[in-house]
Symmetry: C2
Subunit: 102 residues, 2 copies
């Protein structure tokens, strides 16, 4: 499994517009092979640098790459995305702990 973490800068007052754009891309992603799940987060503080963070689990890097093909690029190349700067990267978990499993 691999984790995709995408950090979004969203100008003040543009939340609804951003979420509508995100949900279009998200509907595509959740239907792709290897998509395991996601959590979209909104910062409690209105002045947080990254107002939104999407945390996605994919079965493999290959599945992730296959899902980010032409259809994906068409979705995110819409001009409405220009105001929403994204900082994405793929990650492995290197250390974890759960209080529940103690």
């Amino acid at each position: 499994m691999v984790r995709y973490i995408n950090l979004f800068e969203v100008p003040e007052g543009r939340d609804d517009e951003f979420m509508a754009m995100f949900l279009q891309v998200n509907a595509h992603m959740t239907a792709q092979p290897g998509y395991l799940g996601h959590r979209m987060h909104r910062a409690l503080a209105p002045d947080a640098r990254y107002r939104y963070v999407n945390y996605v689990e994919w079965a493999s890097v290959d599945d992730f790459k296959a899902a980010h093909g032409e259809e994906f690029r068409a979705l995110v190349s819409k001009p409405e995305w220009r105001d929403f700067v994204a900082t994405p990267a793929l990650y492995d978990v290197v250390h974890e702990h759960s209080a529940v499993s103690n």
Copy 2:
């Protein structure tokens, strides 16, 4: 529940030093009331802006605040932390989906 997401910039070749510092703070955190669990992530790409991302679940904002008191500040004020820039924020989950529950 509230999510604390902390993004770390770690200079190349400093991974072991960074993780040793992180584990000191982490050992303190996992013992605090309200700590539910964490996952520490390392980027697959060596040139990712945020080489490490810590994703932590806390029972409440109050628990989170109580855990970040004097003992915490003493740990992160060590000069060794100066080279590791952190960008932290608290988040709520606003949208989620799991393929497993389909």
